[in-house]
């Protein structure tokens, strides 16, 4: 379908408070004005926008069905094809439907969205607005379930962590195709606040997935994201972080597990806008079969952002001859008092290490598994709690078993 047709669908959805409807209608207009990204768009050089639009997606109508069988009992918030099934707040925090509390939407990612960002808002069925007050420490698990039927599950969230507050946000994406997941988070991390954001994309085949996360970090604040991609066909997650005030810190970790003809794209932009901020990126991709992993990591250091310390590493392990990896580690620096580094490496398993293990008696498969799991371990170990680490470790092992 064309931009116009999606915009028409959006205009047909009129439930919700006027403020919410107005926001969405504005986004529908913006979608028509911008269109979807074209083949010559540098930001989409290695991922075809058409791969996300391979069906005529339509928003889900009516109330969400009960999906107890699939819903994670641990989940505080459950969305089904973008519709809010339930939402409970952690003690001391507030969690509202975004329809009721949409003030602040677009403040971080831009009031005038384009392309898939505009599509998300235009067709968003719901989402949550979360506030963690000063000094409160909380955990929130949000589950997105796709039920197939060519439905477009678009959700929009807004997170505010007040000064000194702490939030562990776990977003988990599950379900089956054909469906399209479009999930956008805007988060404001105030001074001395902390947001740890674990984003597990785990839909089955036939669910193209597009996510955008926009975060502003205040003085002395911290944002740590761990993004896991793979298994769903074509996936793309964009992380846009601005370090707004002195002493802000961001660390982004990513793990891609792709096989078959899957395609996963991490697209990162970190802006150092203030002095004395630090950023770290560690992205790893495991590619089997005929899959493709794409990484773009752009670090922008504004004039005057003295004392910036930015480091980025991307490594891709190609487990078959037909796998493809693309990397664009980029630095744009307009200030001399900086220390910025990036490194990218693409290759197969180290033959020497493989030989060493086999010489000590490991079978080839066991040696390969050991080295591959070790490759993923840096990202797994960065997760904030043991249960999350165990789950991801199990996912890597399971993926490896299926891929080899």
């Amino acid at each position: 379908m064309t931009e116009q047709q999606y915009a028409e669908l959006a205009r047909g959805l009129s439930e919700g408070p006027p403020g919410w409807v107005e926001l969405r209608q504005g986004a529908a207009d913006a979608l028509v004005a911008s269109g979807f990204p074209g083949p010559r768009d540098e930001a989409w050089k290695y991922t075809r926008p058409a791969a996300l639009l391979d069906h005529d997606w339509a928003p889900a109508e009516g109330d969400p069905p009960e999906v107890d069988a699939e819903a994670d009992p641990e989940a505080d918030v459950v969305l089904v094809d973008g519709r809010l099934l339930r939402a409970r707040a952690a003690p001391g925090t507030t969690v509202e439907s975004i329809r009721q509390d949409s003030f602040g939407v677009g403040h971080i990612l831009g009031e005038d969205p384009a392309g898939f960002l505009a599509l998300n808002l235009a067709l968003a069925r719901d989402g949550v607005a979360v506030r963690v007050p000063a000094g409160v420490s909380a955990k929130l698990v949000v589950q997105h379930v796709a039920t197939g039927g060519e439905r477009l599950g678009a959700a929009r969230h807004l997170i505010n962590v007040d000064p000194g507050g702490e939030l562990l946000l776990v977003e988990r994406f599950t379900g089956q195709g054909p469906a399209f997941t479009s999930a956008v988070v805007e988060a404001h991390v105030s001074e001395r606040a902390s947001l740890v954001h674990v984003r597990e994309q785990a839909e089955g085949p036939g669910v193209p997935h597009h996510g955008v996360v926009g975060v502003n970090v205040g003085a002395g604040g911290r944002y740590h994201a761990v993004s896991v991609l793979g298994g769903a066909g074509t996936t793309r997650v964009e992380l846009r972080v601005a370090l707004q005030a002195p002493g802000a810190h961001v660390s982004l970790d990513g793990l891609v597990l792709v096989a078959g003809r899957e395609h996963a794209d991490h697209h990162v932009r970190i802006e150092h806008r203030a002095p004395g901020c630090t950023s770290r990126q560690a992205f790893r991709s495991l590619c089997a079969g005929r899959s493709r992993s794409v990484f773009t990591g752009n670090v922008v250091v504004a004039e005057g952002a003295v004392g910036t310390d930015a480091a980025q590493v991307h490594r891709a392990l190609l487990l078959s001859d037909d796998a493809v990896a693309d990397a664009r580690p980029q630095l744009e620096i307009s200030c001399d008092d900086v220390r910025c580094t990036h490194g990218a490496a693409v290759g197969a398993l180290d033959a020497e290490a493989l030989f060493y293990l086999r010489q000590r008696g490991l079978g080839e498969l066991a040696a390969r598994s050991l080295l591959t799991e070790a490759f993923a371990a840096e990202i797994v170990d960065a997760l904030p709690d043991e249960a999350l680490r165990d789950a991801l470790r199990a996912r890597v092992a399971g993926w490896l078993g299926a891929a080899s």
Binding site: D321, D322, L331, E332, V338, C340, H342, A345
Partner: protein, 489 residues
């Protein structure tokens, strides 16, 4: 330029006084034969006719011109410059007298190249000393003198101006011209293909190791001209050549356009080393004047085990746009790119390389050192592409930026595209300023701040300088020092 307020008219002399450090800023009053400004098919035909070219070459030029008319001038994310008036440039300027021997070379020209330190007399040969360097001197659009042609010819090596090659070896030119950089490759390459007036041609036959450095020295002298030279180097099986290129231009308050094309072809087991020291006039401190250096350089490692190595030191030009690249087609072929680029005042440079791995076990190395000072802006842009059939291909890239002062910029935009699981690609990059502790250490030992900076910058570039032939390395170090003047403190 553009919609900016026009800067107050400044005489060339004032500019010399302001920027006394540009040593090559003189211009020489030489009687020149030149076309009036403007570009249309007639100009293309005129150039071709002037040079007595065969029909196929005129057709090739015209095809390029028509393609160029349909193309859009590229833009760059970190650069803006006022529109270039392609109709305001003269596309042909040549010294009036075309010399047959050195005695006939205009003494003004001889003196000018003497001033530049380029010997056009085969002096060493007269003294009975083995020559180490042969020179093709190109003034504005035309080759004025090629030294040691006879000596090289004894070995079967052809070293001559492009125009002579078209007349004397049309079969070679026709076979290879455009085989690496097609006439429709990009906007500036198409423009060059349409209007190129001269350049250098080198052919090294099978198994011959060229005994001296071959060198082209480019000089833009005439005001308001573009320079569009074309270099073609073909090295047959098992042969070797080292080629050097130097460039200067007078200081002029208007921008001059330099859009050159270089094509290299290396057959099996052949090696081509191509070194450039580019010192076109960079403009004054405020960014007035200077050369727009939009150059397409590409080499094809056609045969197995062939090797192409680019080394460049870019200190001049107002704007540089240049990506010397290698197509690694032969199995086990090797591509290398070693670069030092320095931007000071308001200079802009967007440079890097493309390594296209096609053959099995092909290897490439990229070492790029960028220095930004003043309000200079610099971008490293590179592509490492490992294609499906490039089994066992390897690349190593090291890309470092040094920033001097808070108003400059350094940008690193590499593309890594790996389509074969047996390949190994490593990319490392860093950006930082000169360490305060390093500066203090050197000053504590008695070095002035300027000497300390220059020493650290030279150390930063050493990996690249060691790839240059000796005389060039000395020149490069000196240029770096001169170009950094005023960047410190």
């Amino acid at each position: 330029m553009g919609e900016e307020a026009q800067p107050a008219r400044t005489s060339a002399e004032e500019m010399v006084a302001e920027r006394g450090e540009y040593r090559y800023g003189f211009s020489t009053p030489i009687e020149a034969d030149r076309l009036p400004p403007g570009l249309d098919e007639e100009v293309v035909r005129f150039i071709s006719a002037k040079k007595g070219e065969p029909g196929w070459l005129l057709d090739w030029r015209l095809a390029a011109f028509r393609a160029w008319q349909q193309m859009e001038e590229p833009t760059w994310p970190h650069f803006t410059y006022g529109p270039i008036d392609y109709q305001g440039v003269s596309y042909y300027a040549a010294p009036k007298q075309k010399p047959q021997s050195l005695d006939e070379v205009d003494p003004e020209i001889l003196e000018m190249f003497e001033k530049l330190g380029i010997p056009l007399q085969e002096r060493e040969a007269l003294a009975g000393v083995e020559p180490t360097i042969a020179v093709d001197a190109v003034l504005d659009s035309v080759s004025v003198k090629t030294t040691f042609r006879a000596k090289l010819a004894e070995l079967g090596i052809l070293f001559m101006s492009f125009g002579e090659a078209v007349r004397e070896h049309p079969e070679l030119v026709r076979k290879y011209l455009g085989s690496v950089v097609p006439h429709t490759d990009n906007y500036f390459a198409a423009l060059n293909a349409a209007v190129f007036s001269d350049g250098s041609f080198v052919y090294v036959p099978k198994g011959v190791r060229c005994p001296m450095e071959l060198s082209t020295y480019f000089r833009i002298n005439e005001a308001n001209t573009g320079q569009f030279e074309r270099t073609l180097i073909i090295v047959e099986d098992g042969a070797y050549v080292s080629y050097l290129e130097g460039c200067t231009a007078p200081m002029r308050k208007d921008n001059q356009l330099h859009a050159a094309v270089v094509e290299l072809v290396a057959h099996a087991d052949a090696t081509i080393k191509y070194s450039t020291v580019q010192n076109w006039f960079p403009g004054d401190k405020e960014g007035r004047g200077g050369v727009y250096n939009f150059v397409t350089k590409r080499g094809k490692c056609l045969g197995a085990r062939s090797r192409i190595s680019w080394t460049q030191v870019e200190t001049g030009s107002a704007i540089t746009w240049k990506y010397p690249s290698c197509i690694l087609q032969g199995d086990d072929s090797v591509g290398e790119f070693y670069s030092v680029a320095l931007t000071n005042n308001r200079q802009l440079a967007d440079t890097g390389t493309k390594m296209i791995h096609l053959g099995r076990n092909t290897r490439s190395t990229i070492v790029s050192k960028g220095i930004s000072a003043g309000r200079g802006q610099q971008t490293y842009r590179g592509l490492v592409q490992i294609n499906k059939k490039a089994v066992g291909a390897r690349n190593y890239t090291r890309c470092d930026s040094l920033l001097i002062g808070g108003a400059c910029g350094a940008h690193t935009l590499p593309y890594v595209d790996v389509r074969n699981g047996s390949a190994t690609v490593e990319h490392e990059a860093s950006a930082s300023r000169i360490g305060e502790d390093q500066l203090f250490y050197l000053r504590q030992r008695g070095l002035s701040e300027e000497d300390a900076v220059s020493m650290i910058v030279n150390g930063f570039c050493r990996e690249v300088f060691k790839e240059l032939p000796m005389e060039f390395a000395v020149e490069a170090r000196r240029l770096l020092e001169v170009s950094l003047e005023g960047a410190v403190g």
